[in-house]
């Protein structure tokens, strides 16, 4: 096998040491620094074909972080995967990738992965050899079979698309075991079941671009519900139609990210959604049996809001789109009624496209089936159990008592690749490859076969589960005849047209035609839900929701996702109890004061978080944190919201996340909220601006009053500022045509740097605030995460543990996704008001043409490059932080503890996480200021390519990491001085503005105003 062409550790820049040596060099020379070993240059043994050291190789594969099956392209350098990007040819995600998909690399390089097979010996898991592990498995299987108990075996697999489920079922059948249970805690089973009944498919594709009105009843299609990337792409395309964009209405007790992106929020009481949607159904001509008044009464909203919504739906006709994804016990009925509205309005075929159905959830089993299997274990009827990826010990109701149930199973085998609560209870660990090391396939849409291929050699001594199963079957004379193929890759290629040649030729695109579906889809029987109502007693209804960043909790061991602020609450590394200001006032708690939430199922104490987007009679907690054991980044971080929920299931067998009434009492402790947010209000600064659609239509005057508390004298003709590298009035001598000292800044300089002006536009009508750009930036630019408890100093008792550094504002995110609420009232007024507007602004270095940071740097570490970049030279920086003080945008981040230095306790990339580091970007050391560089490494790479090919850089030839990942396509990057680039045209949009243009900063980032769609006046 090949070795890696470079030395393993990338030694970080040690500026302090560098300075020390510099100072000493005139005196004591090399005697001052000692202890470093001479570095070695390790060559390959055999040079791999088709790769050049130092040049990236790209592999097309399929993302496995959720069930959707987006196509990704993984960039590898010298044999290591360093970046995951969307595959532009893929029909599901069209080149975009969400934060969770980006973070697949941190699953691959997770320091808490199993390094090899483990066997429980004397109560403890101990490493064993693969031979021994496979022998143990074969022996145990033989025992089970000889006792005729194989029929009671249970195999629970994390739901995945593709051929593997069918392969697994074949193997299980060959060993006399029943078909496996395909489990995904996040799957919206109720909606799928209703869709099957109403439309005949589990997941029709939702075409927002065709819609004029979008009504979401608790369907958080921008929060990760369903298939987030394709939904977000379609949503953003629809909203970018501006005057023809759909108006969106959100119905639910808590305004989720989807709710914040909607134009109107109808804050219906939890549990009342069914009545509301039936009232709407009645209003569009199908007898819903509920009057609008009764529904409004039940929901605690005005009848007018429902009446006008019904009118809008009727007016939109076939261009209406109603989606329901509530999480109550009656979720299936709500989804079914919503589907009936679409059918009644004739929207099926326009906005609800059943022909382009997404197949991600085919052959999935219900949570109820998995719970029943656990109950069988608990009854002592299961001789052997297998788990692969499915972490039931964390994601099932605590009353299911998974730990006790597993204790009654004689032998438990886990194929899970990373330590989690379930695998820690098992007896034999046969760690699977990560999906980026495996072969496989997926069929996200009918006839589209999306391939999974290894992007690098396995990081640890793991083995693909399919290959383990093949080896076990081959070793057994009874089954060997059925397993004639050499490995799983051979099995997959035998199912693809063209066989091995067909597979090889399809791999570069990662796509081919074909099917991977496993024959008939098992339809789970509908359970009669015991109670359609929310149970328990208490003044408040508890709404648990899957975290948009961590999902059902599977993202919690990835520091990028832990450190990604929740798009709604902006909380990270922490679990909070969300409540309205009125509620907090009634309870007498302030933000950060702990409250104890009690339900019939359990209790939880966590800090209160005051959120204006939640009904005062409802509290909400994000699931995903509070792991008992899931690696160093998850264990002990936050609290587990699942413990507050009983077993209540909906008719479709899905676990109801909104099922309990709760009592809330004040507890004694106080925590700082771990958040990156300063203020949720703009304070008239005009950072995030919006205009009404009426202005674009010419029916309304644009009133400029909402921004510009201070009118500056800056020209609103900002393009001249964008066209030149340094703003005209900032150039001083350079702008003087007679100056002989323009150097590289002279547009006529033969090197031609000054003919460019790198710039960016961000369309706020598209941006949903999902924060995928933030994680893309972490991945591309080697940004350290700082929230782990060992990374912060232990000085103050209330600033220890997870997120302690964040409470001191030491986060390093080069892009900050700001979220502002627009509500016209005094901050002290906490009365409930559902009519606020929300603005999202990705804020990164604005690369000002007249940058306030530059003149204050005493060492010229930050300066203006001739191509318009505001450059930070790490090796010049001495860490005065004057630049950050003088930055009006607060986008400069100081590296306080040397998070990039491997010999420090605060090191952010413990082995092997540092394998992901981008070799094109410096890993910054302690005491250095850092900030967005506009991905200068990508600019330089494009320049290298162009130069070597003897041409100029072409328009839109490359883009920054944030723009590439953005699932809303909101970010456009390029050269504003050349009309060949889209950004030059986009910056001339009438909606364009610069943040703080009154400060004469002449920024290179132009934002395009959000467009609001207020309700049509009756």
């Amino acid at each position: 096998m090949t070795s890696i062409a470079n030395t393993g550790d990338k030694p970080a820049v040690k500026r302090r040491e560098f300075l020390k040596v510099l100072g000493a060099s005139t005196a004591a020379g090399a005697a001052a620094a000692c202890g470093d070993k001479p570095e070695k240059l390790l060559p390959y043994l055999v040079s791999p074909d088709h790769t050049v050291p130092g040049v990236s190789t790209y592999y097309a594969t399929t993302c496995r972080e959720c069930a959707s099956g987006c196509g990704i392209i993984v960039e590898t350098r010298d044999g290591r995967a360093i970046k995951a990007e969307g595959n532009p040819d893929h029909p599901v995600n069209r080149g975009a990738l969400c934060a969770r998909g980006q973070s697949s690399l941190q699953g691959l390089y997770n320091p808490d992965r199993y390094r090899g097979p483990m066997l429980r010996d004397g109560g403890e898991l101990k490493p064993v050899s693969w031979d021994q592990a496979l022998q143990t498995l074969a022996t145990r299987l033989g025992e089970v079979r000889s006792r005729n108990q194989a029929g009671n075996a249970v195999f629970i697999n994390q739901h995945e698309q593709g051929s593997f489920p069918a392969f697994l079922d074949q193997w299980l059948a060959a060993h006399g075991m029943p078909a496996h249970l395909s489990y995904d805690a996040e799957a919206p089973l109720a909606t799928m079941s209703a869709n099957r009944e109403a439309y005949g498919v589990a997941w029709p594709s939702l075409d927002f671009t065709e819609a004029r009105v979008v009504v979401s009843i608790g369907a958080d299609f921008l929060d990760g519900w369903g298939h987030s990337v394709p939904q977000q792409l379609s949503w953003a395309d629809a909203r970018a139609k501006l005057t023809d964009a759909p108006r969106a209405v959100y119905i639910g007790a808590r305004r989720s990210l989807t709710g914040l992106n909607s134009d109107q929020w109808i804050a219906a009481k939890p549990g009342s959604e069914l009545q509301v949607v039936r009232a709407l159904l009645g209003a569009v001509g199908r007898g819903g049996g509920v009057s609008i008044e009764a529904a409004a009464q039940a929901a605690g909203v005005t009848a007018e809001s429902i009446t006008s919504l019904a009118n809008e739906l009727r007016a939109a006709g076939s261009h209406a789109l109603v989606i329901a994804g509530t999480t109550g016990p009656d979720a299936r009925a709500v989804a079914l009624a919503a589907a009936e509205i679409n059918k009644a309005l004739g929207a099926v075929g326009t906005t609800v496209k059943t022909a382009d159905a997404l197949l991600a959830y085919e052959r999935i089993n219900t949570t109820a089936q998995v719970r029943e299997a656990v109950e069988r274990m608990n009854a002592g009827n299961v001789p052997i159990a297998f788990f692969r990826g499915a972490n039931i010990a964390h994601t099932l109701a605590k009353q299911t008592n998974v730990a006790a149930a597993l204790g009654k199973v004689a032998f438990k085998v886990s194929f899970t690749s990373v330590k989690d609560e379930t695998s820690e209870l098992c007896d034999l660990i046969l760690p699977d490859h990560h999906s980026l090391e495996s072969w496989g396939d997926a069929e996200p849409m009918r006839g589209v076969l999306s391939l999974v291929q290894p992007t690098m050699d396995p990081v640890f001594t793991t083995r693909a589960t399919a290959d383990v199963l093949i080896a076990v079957a081959k070793a057994n004379p009874a089954t060997a005849s059925r397993y004639g193929f050499s490995d799983y890759r051979a099995w997959i290629s035998s199912r693809i047209s063209g066989g091995d040649t067909g597979l090889t030729s399809a791999l570069p695109r990662g796509l081919t035609n074909g099917s991977a579906l496993a024959g008939a889809v098992p339809t789970a029987r509908l359970a009669a839900s015991a109670s359609q109502a929310i149970g328990g007693t208490g003044e408040y209804t508890l709404q648990v929701y899957f975290s948009p960043t961590l999902g059902d909790g599977r993202g919690a061991n990835k520091p990028w996702l832990q450190e990604l602020p929740d798009p709604v609450t902006k909380v990270l590394w922490q679990t909070v109890v969300e409540m309205h200001g009125e509620t907090a006032k009634a309870l007498g708690v302030a933000q950060g004061e702990h409250v104890t939430v009690r339900t019939a199922a359990g209790e939880l104490t966590a800090p209160a978080y005051i959120y204006i987007g939640i009904r005062p009679d409802t509290i909400a907690i994000a699931a995903g944190r509070g792991h008992a054991g899931y690696g160093r980044y998850a264990a002990g971080c936050g609290s587990d919201a699942y413990q507050l929920l009983g077993i209540t299931e909906n008719e479709a067998g899905g676990w109801a996340l909104t099922q309990q009434k709760a009592t809330v009492t004040k507890a004694s402790a106080l925590s700082r909220i771990v958040t990156t947010e300063g203020s949720a209000r703009q304070h008239d600064r005009g950072i995030a601006r919006a205009m009404s659609v009426g202005v674009l239509l010419g029916t309304e005057e644009e009133h400029d009053g909402e921004h510009h508390a201070f009118t500056g004298d800056a020209s609103h003709e900002f393009l001249p500022g964008l066209r030149s590298p340094v703003a005209g009035d900032a150039q001083g001598d350079l702008v003087d045509p007679k100056s002989k000292d323009q150097g590289l800044y002279d547009p006529a300089h033969p090197l031609g740097l000054a003919k460019r002006r790198w710039a960016m536009t961000i369309d706020l009508a598209r941006c949903t605030g999902c924060s995928a750009c933030v994680t893309a930036c972490y991945a591309e630019n080697n940004i350290p995460t700082v929230g782990a408890p060992w990374q912060g100093p232990v000085v103050m008792a209330d600033r220890t543990g997870f997120g302690a550094n964040i409470t001191r504002s030491r986060e390093m995110a080069w892009i900050r996704l700001e979220r502002y609420f627009e509500i016209d009232r005094e901050p002290k007024d906490v009365a409930f008001d559902a009519s606020f507007d929300t603005r999202f602004v990705p804020m990164m270095c604005q690369h000002c043409g007249n940058a306030p940071c530059e003149p204050v740097c005493p060492v010229f570490a930050t300066y203006h490059a001739p191509d318009g970049l505001n450059v930070q030279v790490y090796n010049r920086c001495v860490g005065t932080r004057y630049c950050s003080n003088n930055c009006p945008y607060k986008v400069r981040y100081f590296n306080w503890f040397g998070y990039g230095e491997h010999d420090r306790a605060q090191y952010a990339f413990p082995e092997p996480l540092h394998w992901q580091l981008n070799p094109d970007v410096t890993v910054r050391g302690k005491g250095v200021m850092e900030k967005c560089t506009f991905c200068v490494q990508r600019i330089r790479e494009a320049e290298h390519h162009a130069k070597l090919e003897g041409r100029e850089i072409q328009g839109d030839e490359f883009t920054t990491a944030c723009a590439q990942a953005c699932p809303s396509r909101a970010i456009i990057f390029g050269d504003a001085a050349s009309d060949a680039w889209t950004v030059a045209r986009a910056a001339q949009d009438r909606r364009a503005y610069h943040v703080f243009e009154e400060l004469n900063t002449f920024t290179a980032v132009a934002y395009l105003k959000k467009v609001n769609h207020p309700a049509a006046r009756a």
Partner: protein
């Protein structure tokens, strides 16, 4: 507080240490007394022409002393101290690889082995398989080749001691320089005349910027490489490069 006498001691130590450091940095490049190349077909170190190893010895002997010393005028060389602690400018390598016989006698081009230098930021250390392509059959009984074979057979990488390195905060794209016509020797010295590779240039920023600012002359580059520039080389324009910080530092 050290007394007067101790202060003198400290100062004395610093002076001595500085002298030692300077001397050791310098002597790295010095060779044993220069020998004159023997006349054709004379035995060298008791090896006759035609015997294994003769060509290598001859090439080494002919090369000795020909490679000019590096431009240490810009020394101060922070890199040297930070990254080459304990490494002389010409360290002992795990295998005594003789560049002179490969380049001067066998006429191999640099990019024959360092094959990525013109297409990647990383010039690429040749894989052992590249060496073994010839040395499976050529000179297999020689002790250095035996060492090479041992590495190849055991599957271990050869731990070459690194002597050229720019700090991590510098991005140095080899391919841009090679394709611009900069001779390898302009930065690496006449490696073809180094029986043991030594570091030629200080690789510090002043040395880099010198060329970026004042420009690279093809004629000078050819001379640095040990060749007489052609008329065309003499006519070639001086090529300057950007000296903007963010061209290399990001």
């Amino acid at each position: 507080m050290p007394g007067r006498r101790s202060w003198a001691l400290v100062t004395g130590f610093v002076v001595v240490a500085a002298a030692v450091a300077a001397l050791s940095a310098y002597t790295g490049t010095l060779f044993s007394a220069q020998q004159t190349a023997p006349a054709a077909d004379q035995p060298i170190d008791g090896i006759n022409p035609g015997q294994p190893g003769y060509l290598t010895l001859k090439a080494n002997l002919e090369a000795r002393g020909k490679a000019p010393k590096g431009p240490w005028a810009y020394s101060g060389s922070s890199n040297f101290n930070r990254y080459f602690v304990g490494v002389s400018r010409s360290p002992q390598q795990p295998i005594n690889f003789p560049h002179p016989v490969h380049v001067n006698t066998l006429k191999l081009n640099c990019v024959f082995c360092h094959y990525a230098a013109d297409k990647s930021p990383d010039p690429g250390m040749p894989a052992i398989s590249t060496c073994m392509g010839c040395h499976n059959t050529v000179a297999i009984q020689r002790p250095e080749i035996q060492k090479l074979k041992a590495y190849a057979d055991s599957g271990k990488a050869i731990p070459w001691v690194r002597i050229h390195k720019v700090p991590d905060y510098v991005q140095f794209p080899h391919m841009r320089h090679v394709n611009a016509g900069v001779t390898c020797q302009a930065c690496h010295g006449q490696v073809q005349n180094m029986p043991r590779v030594e570091r030629y240039a200080s690789l510090n920023m002043g040395w880099c910027v010198n060329c970026h600012l004042n420009g690279y002359s093809r004629a000078e580059g050819m001379r640095a490489a040990g060749y007489e520039p052609s008329q065309e080389d003499m006519r070639a324009p001086i090529r300057k490069a950007s000296y903007d910080c963010a061209v290399c530092h990001y």
